[in-house]
C-alpha cells in the first residue's frame, strides 16, 4: 500500500496534536544513544570486512597544470603494494548536494592544490601511506588564478540571481540615514569530526560501499555515474555518520577511489581521507566580499536595500554560495538591488557548508543593520521590528508564518536587553570591556520528496528509509512521529536508516530531513490508522491509539488482536506541491550575545548567548535544542576564529588542520541558551514542522560582532574578529 501526499494545500488539522501517546515534541533521549556512548555505533571505516586492504590518495602539489608522467614501477615494487591507480574516473572534486550525477572527473588536469591524482593500494595502511608518499608524479605547471579580488578577473553574473526593483541610488541619496560599506567573510571548512571514509567491496557486478554520506538517494546515482555502472548495482550503507555539515552531501573521493581500487585488486578496499585531505579536497565555503547599502528614513524605516556579493568557485561548477538568499525577504524596502557575482579560481571546490548563503549573508546584513541602528540612534531590536515586511517584499507573496517580531521580543526579555548601554565602552569589568549585541535569524525553509515504509505488527512498529542521521536526531524524531500516530511506547519502535536498499529519503541537508521524512512516516501512519479504524468499524478521527491499544466508543482492544491476520505495511510518500510556491517559507529567530573584550590584549570571550527560534512544530525539544547549540557554536567560530587562509603565492590552504584552523573548543563556549517559540506552520508540512539544523548559524556571528562594537567601539567588517583587527582600533 502507498499513501501519497502532495503538499498542495496547507494542512491545518494538526493531527499529531490530537494523538494520545504524548511523545511528540518531548525531550526524549536519542534512540541510538546507548550505541554511541558505548562505542558500538559502526561508522564507515569500521565495518569488519574480510580480506580488507587499504588505499591512500596521492595529490597535486601545484594549483594548475597537467600530469606528464607517473612513475609507478618503483612504488608497485614496494612491500605490500597491490596497485597504483590513476584511473580517469577519479573525481576532480566531490559532487555538489543533490547533483545526482558524477562531478567533474579526471586526474590529468590539475585545478587546485591537493586534487587527487592517483591512489595507492597496499595490504596495510602503513604500507599504503608510505608508498603514496614515495610516488613521483611529474607535472607541468600553468599560471593559476588565486586572488578572488584581482581586478583582471571576469565576473560572472548569472541572470536568475540578480534582482533590481525601484531606484536604490535615488533612495540612498534621499535617505535620512544610510550605510554603504564593504564586508568580507573568509572561507570555512565544515570539518566534521569523522573524516570522509569508505569501504568498497564487489560481488560480481554488484558494489557495496560503506560510506560517510549525507544523501544516499543522490549518492548512489552519483557513484554509479562516476564509475559507469548501473545504480541498481550499487548499495550504499551509512547507518551512522560522524557529522557532515554539508561536506558529505555529494559523493566524494573516498567512495569513488575505494570502488575503483577494490575492482582493480579484486578485494575490498578501505580508504579514509586524512584530516589534511578533508580540508584540501572536500568542499570549502567560498570567501565573500559583500557590499551592503541601506537607506532609511528619519524613523529608521528602510527605503532601500542593496546587497552585492562576490564569491568564488572552480571552473565548471554550477554551485555558488547563495549569499543573499535571505536578503530577498528579510526586511521591507521599496528599492532593492541584489547582485550575485562569481569568479573562477584554482582553489579547492566551493560547496555547501552549514546554511550555505544565510550563514555569511545574514551575518553581514545583520552587521550592517547594527551600523544603521547606531547611526540612526534607534535600538537595534526596534530597528528590526520596524522593518518586518507584511508580505514578501519582492513579489507580494504572503509568508507561511512570520515569527521574527515574537522572537525579537522574547529574546530581548529573556536576555534582559534593556540593560544594554548603547554607548560603547561604557561597561567594564576590570580590564574587560563588556558589550551586548543582537541579530535576527532567518533561513529559507524547504520540503523535499521523501519515502518511508512503516510496518505495524503485533510486536511493534518498524520504520525504514534510506534517510541518514548525521547527528540530527533522525532515528529519534521519526520514531516519535510513528509512536505518536500509532500509540506505541518508544521502545516498540525500530527505525532502520542509511541503506539505499530502503525507500529513498531526501537525505540530511538544507535542514529538510526531519520535516520531509517525518511527513512520509506521518502519511504512512495515517493510512495504517485508517486500516485499523476500518477493522474496528469506526472513522479514523474517532480512533484513539495508546500504549499498544485501540480505543473507540468505550471499547479497548489490544492492537495485537487487530493484527492477528498479519502486519499492516504502508509506504508513505511526501511530495512538495503548491505550498512551496504560493507562500514564502522561512524559519526565523533572534540571537543575543554578551561578550567581554580585553582592553590590553583584545581577546574576546563570549560570556552569554541566547538563541530564540521558531521552526514550526518541534519534534523533539532535546535534539532540536542540540542542533541549535551546534549552529550557534558555528557562529562563535565564524565570529572569532574560523578562517581558511590560502597562501597568496600558491593557493595552498596553510591552516589545513585543527591546530591552525580554529574550531571553537569547550572553553570558548559558555552555557548557551536556546528558546523555542510555539508554532505550527500548516504550509510547511503535514506535521507542521520546519527545518532547524541551520537556523542556529544564520546570523549568529553578527550578534557577537555587534556585541564587540558595543563593548569597545571597534567595528570589524572583515570576519573573523581576531585580536589584531580589534587591537588596531582600541
Amino acid at each position: 500500500m502507498t499513501a501519497h501526499v502532495k503538499m498542495d494545500a496547507p494542512d491545518r488539522r494538526n493531527r499529531l496534536d490530537a494523538m494520545a501517546q504524548g511523545v511528540i515534541g518531548e525531550p526524549l533521549d536519542r534512540s541510538e544513544g546507548a550505541l554511541k556512548v558505548s562505542g558500538k555505533a559502526v561508522y564507515a571505516h569500521e565495518w569488519p570486512v574480510e580480506g580488507l586492504c587499504h588505499a591512500v590518495l596521492v595529490r597535486a602539489a601545484i594549483s594548475r597544470g597537467t600530469v606528464t608522467r607517473i612513475d609507478k614501477a618503483p612504488v608497485e615494487a614496494m612491500d605490500g603494494v597491490l596497485a597504483v591507480i590513476d584511473d580517469d574516473r577519479l573525481l576532480r572534486n566531490p559532487a555538489q548536494g543533490t547533483a545526482n550525477k558524477a562531478p567533474v572527473q579526471g586526474p590529468r588536469k590539475i585545478f587546485y592544490i591537493g586534487q587527487p591524482l592517483a591512489v595507492v593500494v597496499a595490504e596495510s595502511f602503513e604500507q599504503a601511506r608510505h608508498a603514496a608518499q614515495q610516488l613521483v608524479v611529474e607535472t607541468e605547471a600553468a599560471d593559476a588564478v588565486l586572488d578572488p579580488e584581482a581586478e583582471t578577473l571576469e565576473h560572472e553574473r548569472p541572470k536568475g540571481k540578480q534582482t533590481s526593483q525601484g531606484d536604490l541610488d535615488q533612495a540612498m541619496g534621499a535617505a535620512a540615514f544610510s550605510i554603504d560599506e564593504v564586508y568580507r567573510t573568509p572561507g570555512h571548512s565544515s570539518a566534521p569530526m569523522e573524516p570522509h571514509a569508505a569501504i568498497a567491496s564487489w560481488d560480481g557486478d554488484r558494489l557495496t560501499v560503506r560510506a560517510s554520506c549525507q544523501m544516499l538517494k543522490y549518492n548512489r546515482n552519483e557513484l554509479a555515474d562516476a564509475l559507469g555502472i548501473k545504480p541498481e548495482n550499487v548499495r550504499i550503507l551509512a547507518p551512522y555518520v560522524g557529522g557532515g555539515f554539508g561536506s558529505k552531501l555529494g559523493i566524494a573521493h573516498d567512495a569513488v577511489a575505494a570502488s575503483i581500487a577494490a575492482r582493480a585488486v579484486g578485494r575490498p578496499v578501505a580508504l579514509a581521507l586524512s584530516r589534511r585531505q578533508v580540508f584540501e579536497t572536500t568542499m570549502r565555503r567560498s570567501e565573500s566580499r559583500q557590499r551592503v547599502r541601506l537607506a532609511a528614513d528619519a524613523e529608521g524605516r528602510l527605503t532601500g536595500i542593496g546587497h552585492a556579493a562576490l564569491v568564488s568557485q572552480l571552473p565548471g561548477e554550477k554551485f555558488s554560495e547563495p549569499v543573499t538568499q535571505a536578503t530577498h525577504f528579510l526586511y521591507a524596502a521599496k528599492n532593492r538591488e541584489i547582485v550575485h557575482e562569481i569568479v573562477r579560481l584554482n582553489l579547492t571546490c566551493a560547496g555547501s557548508v552549514r546554511a550555505p548563503g544565510e550563514a555569511i549573508g545574514m551575518t553581514v546584513l545583520e552587521t550592517a543593520m547594527d551600523e544603521l541602528a547606531i547611526k540612526a540612534g534607534i535600538d537595534p531590536v526596534e530597528l528590526r521590528k520596524r522593518n518586518i515586511p507584511e508580505t514578501d517584499p519582492e513579489g507580494d507573496k504572503p509568508f507561511s508564518s512570520h515569527m521574527l517580531a515574537s522572537a525579537l521580543d522574547r529574546g530581548a526579555k529573556l536576555f534582559d536587553w534593556q540593560r544594554r548601554n548603547p554607548v560603547p565602552r561604557s561597561t567594564r569589568d576590570g580590564e574587560w570591556l563588556i558589550g551586548l549585541g543582537m541579530s535576527s535569524a532567518a533561513r529559507v525553509n524547504m520540503l523535499a520528496e521523501a519515502e518511508a515504509i512503516v510496518t505495524l505488527s503485533a510486536g511493534g512498529v518498524r520504520i525504514e528509509s534510506d534517510m541518514t542521521d548525521i547527528g540530527t536526531g533522525t532515528y529519534t524524531v521519526l520514531a516519535q512521529v510513528a509512536a505518536e500516530m500509532l500509540g506505541q511506547p518508544m521502545q516498540s519502535v525500530t527505525t532502520v536508516l542509511g541503506d539505499t536498499d530502503l525507500p529513498p529519503g531526501p537525505g540530511s541537508g538544507g535542514s529538510w530531513g526531519a520535516s520531509s521524512t517525518g511527513s512520509a512516516v506521518f502519511a504512512a501512519c495515517e493510512d495504517i490508522r485508517k486500516c485499523l479504524a476500518e477493522k474496528l468499524g469506526c472513522v479514523e478521527e474517532e480512533l484513539t491509539l495508546k500504549d499498544g491499544h485501540a480505543v473507540t466508543a468505550n471499547r479497548r482492544v489490544p492492537l495485537a488482536e487487530l493484527l492477528a491476520d498479519g502486519p499492516i505495511s504502508v509506504r508513505g510518500v511526501i511530495e512538495p506541491g503548491k505550498t512551496s510556491k504560493e507562500v514564502r517559507q522561512s524559519t526565523f529567530g533572534a540571537f543575543f550575545a554578551e561578550v567581554a573584550v580585553n582592553e590590553v590584549t583584545a581577546e574576546v570571550r563570549v560570556r552569554r548567548m541566547l538563541g530564540v527560534f521558531a521552526a514550526g512544530r518541534i519534534l523533539n525539544a532535546k535534539t532540536a535544542r542540540s542542533q541549535c547549540l551546534g549552529g550557534m557554536t558555528f557562529g562563535i567560530g565564524m565570529a572569532l576564529t574560523e578562517e581558511l587562509i590560502h597562501d597568496p603565492r600558491t593557493g595552498a590552504i596553510v591552516n589545513r588542520d585543527f591546530a591552525e584552523y580554529h574550531l571553537p573548543v569547550n572553553a570558548d563556549v559558555p552555557q548557551l541558551e536556546v528558546d523555542f517559540l510555539e508554532e505550527r506552520d500548516p504550509w510547511a508540512s503535514p506535521i507542521q514542522a520546519k527545518g532547524i539544523g541551520e537556523l542556529g548559524i544564520s546570523g549568529a556571528a553578527a550578534s557577537i560582532n555587534n556585541a564587540i562594537f558595543n563593548a569597545c567601539g571597534v567595528r570589524v567588517r572583515d570576519y573573523p574578529a581576531t585580536l589584531d583587527k580589534i587591537l588596531a582600533g582600541l
Partner: protein, 168 residues
C-alpha cells in the same frame, strides 16, 4: 613485531607493523573501533583512551611502545547494557549528536575526574595547590582537548557535572 597489551582486562598478543599507532592497532587489528580517528595528529581528542589510568591521544603513540601496559577504551568503560554513570549522563544531557567524538569525550572525562580528585590544578584553578572545585569553567577548560564539531559543549559540561555530583 609482537606486543603484549592488556585491554579492558583482556590480554592481546598484537602482531603489527612498528609504524602502527596504538589507535590503528585498536581499530584495525583488534576490532575495538570505539576509539575514533578524527585527525591522527593529536589535535582533536577523538582517539582518547586510558593508558595505565591516564588519558592519552592514542593516535600519537605507537602500539609497540605499550608492551605490558594496561589500556582502557570506551568498550571497557561500560557496555550498552551496563553504562557507566558518565555514559548515562551523556545520554540524558544529550552530550553528543553524531557521536563520533563521544567515546573520546567520555574516556577523557573519566580520567579528568580522577585528575581533579587527585588535586591536579588547571589553567583556570584558583591556586596550584588545594582541591580544585569542579566548576563549569574547570570542566570546560579540562575538556578543551576534545573537539566536538556538532558542538555539544554545554551538554557535555552538564553531563560531566551531573555525573560527578551523583558520585559525590
Amino acid at each position: 613485531m609482537q606486543t603484549d597489551l592488556t585491554i579492558n582486562g583482556h590480554t592481546y598478543a598484537l602482531n603489527a607493523d612498528q609504524r602502527t599507532t596504538l589507535l590503528d592497532a585498536l581499530r584495525q587489528h583488534l576490532g575495538l573501533t570505539g576509539a575514533k580517528k578524527g585527525c591522527d595528529h593529536g589535535q582533536c581528542g577523538a582517539c582518547t583512551v586510558l593508558v595505565n589510568g591516564r588519558r592519552i591521544n592514542s593516535c600519537l603513540t605507537l602500539a609497540c611502545m605499550h608492551d605490558g601496559d594496561e589500556i582502557v577504551t570506551i568498550e571497557g568503560i561500560g557496555s550498552e547494557e551496563d553504562l557507566s554513570a558518565l555514559q548515562q549522563a551523556f545520554m540524558s544531557e544529550d552530550g553528543f549528536q553524531c557521536g563520533y567524538c563521544t567515546p573520546g569525550q567520555i574516556c577523557s572525562a573519566t580520567a579528568m575526574l580522577e585528575e581533579v580528585k587527585a588535586g591536579w590544578p588547571s589553567h583556570v584553578s584558583d591556586s596550584l595547590d588545594g582541591k580544585p572545585r569542579l566548576s563549569d569553567e574547570e570542566i570546560s577548560e579540562r575538556m578543551s582537548g576534545n573537539l566536538c564539531r556538532c558542538a555539544c559543549y554545554p551538554n557535555i559540561v552538564a553531563a560531566i557535572r551531573s555525573a560527578s555530583e551523583a558520585s559525590s
